[in-house]
Symmetry: C2
Subunit: 400 residues, 2 copies
Amino acid sequence: MERSVLKFGGSSVSDFTKIKNIAEMLSRRVEQGEQLIVVVSAMGKTTDQLMANVSSLTSKPKDQELALLLTTGEQQTVSYLSMVLNDIGVNAKAMTGYQAGIKTVGHHLKSRIAEINPETFDHAFIDNDILVIAGFQGINDDFELTTLGRGGSDTTAVALAASNGTACEIYTDVDGVYATDPRLYKDAKRLEYVSYEEMMEMSALGAGVLETRSVELANNYNISLYLGRTLSNVRGTWIMSQTELLEKKAVTGVALDTHMMHVTISYPLPDNKLLTALFNKLDEGSVNVDMISQIINLEGLQLSFTIKDTDAVQITTILESLTEDFSALDFKINEAYVKISLIGSGMRDMSGVASKAFITLIENDISFYQTTTSEISISCVIDAENGERAVHSLYQAFDI
Amino acid sequence: MERSVLKFGGSSVSDFTKIKNIAEMLSRRVEQGEQLIVVVSAMGKTTDQLMANVSSLTSKPKDQELALLLTTGEQQTVSYLSMVLNDIGVNAKAMTGYQAGIKTVGHHLKSRIAEINPETFDHAFIDNDILVIAGFQGINDDFELTTLGRGGSDTTAVALAASNGTACEIYTDVDGVYATDPRLYKDAKRLEYVSYEEMMEMSALGAGVLETRSVELANNYNISLYLGRTLSNVRGTWIMSQTELLEKKAVTGVALDTHMMHVTISYPLPDNKLLTALFNKLDEGSVNVDMISQIINLEGLQLSFTIKDTDAVQITTILESLTEDFSALDFKINEAYVKISLIGSGMRDMSGVASKAFITLIENDISFYQTTTSEISISCVIDAENGERAVHSLYQAFDI
């Protein structure tokens, strides 16, 4: 019997009407002879509400307790969905993460899945056509409940697909993966297929539909991933191995990351002590530096780098503390920049993509301050005000 | 190190202020060198809210799913309480029922505790002074979550006390066990000690402070039970073995059960078929009959019995269906009766208690329609309007 894994995020199960509609859809799939593993998140704002409760109790909740609390969210959703399925005549069973045999390792709130026992499913499918499984959670070697961190329900679904040898359908509130953000370019094309690598670049670059980790996992186990809108007839996007994709274009997508900040440091001496102190502090503060460029000459040292805008407070503290030891240090934190990226597996085999991108920007009077390239992507830091226009020009120049 | 089990019911943990106050109290006990196992219920109306959600989804929820849903209530309370304890510097760990090794058997929603592994606690107490454990729940042999039914958190606490060989303190919203309901008799005495047997009679007879099952379990394992008000300095009641109690009185308490109905059936023939049909139907409908009396003579058959008032709809359906086969059947359902009971282990050794009780009622013009006696109790069905007056007269007559 064909087995599939389907995942519904928090916004797809945010009220009981949506849960009932999903149950009807699942029922039709079962009638067509499928066995389904359905992964769900906590309903809508449940997790936010639980976190608000915690804030009223303590500013430093213990991780074990916080994980134990948060896992109740998905446990409630699986109970509700399974009840409705049984109510409409489908044999379904709800299971928590640990009941589904999801063993985790690592930090309580950012665990990774270590192991899934597929026998659990064969056994449970004897009496059931649908297993409804709590996403985002598992149990560690100390028999403590854990959560998987951001995008954890997607990871649960992909891991379950891997252990069951099935494809994984991820239902959310977008129609699929677009060549660029439709809010920036209204004619943006929805991609029917995209490779794992391209999708990972897009996730990491801020396209934000799927967490990199889930795509990486799907890639490692060669699980085809589908991404589409919940209860929609619009055809979404399949994310799969490059070798299975026939068509190859140089550029598949354009991503614009607006959640970044650009930092420039000037110092009148070419001083290695300053750089060592800086990178030590960035490391201690868990601030991830993305693009870096450095100019050292007789006039001194100039270093530029980009970071996530969520590190704004942290970076200011770090730089101010540096001026105590290096009083001649001057720094500038600029949020008026964005990062535009071209992504495409085809870049590997086609030359001139970078040149063409730079020429396009220049012809459109768009300055770029820093650039990086990988095997399948090119990124440039540009002025925020030029972001949307850059997306348009590149989209058209590369005939995406 | 001294180990104790403490249990706090839903009304004791109904808001975060109460949870913080309980945490402070527990902290002081730990400072005095105790190791504590703390059992908590779901916060206030949480269970009611979850049940309301279920009603909006289905009228026949599957038991497994309902149990899975309801257990989230206590799972949240243990998380919150343990967070607060850690916040104020106590080493505490929250655990669900199954994490605490509570194995159950039976119906998902009315399970019984089959086994508790005490090693779980010795291990967890290495790094912690308090273990906060979800009451009312466990896990069965099929690795499915279960709930224990009415009074289940008390049962959890008593079972944990038994497996840890400690006493069990149950904190609730009453000051202890009274010789009779203080709402009926304002000078009612609070008992310092009461025997298991007396307490079981009082629970079963409607005094309603503790479920019979918890007291029975405490009796079986000879666990001393304390019952008192949460965060109060008023001294509550210890429930323990009769042999440990010094003082013996004929009557320890008076209980009034107002949640009963009295049913009388008349039939012009002494017909065994009618009785067989009746008791079969009562059995099928799970209607428990309490006191029964029967008169069979030449004029026919008259049967009276009492049942719980929660079976009101059920009994009417049953009796109406009987009139289809037995058209001459006449029945009367009367809710204007109550049951008054005298309880005391001393009755065993003292004669004349029943006579004295009847005389007291007669002297006070209180008619009684049915009576039953056990080794340590006497119960009479009387008119509801005489209930309070009967409590007063008996309380004074027996110098309770």
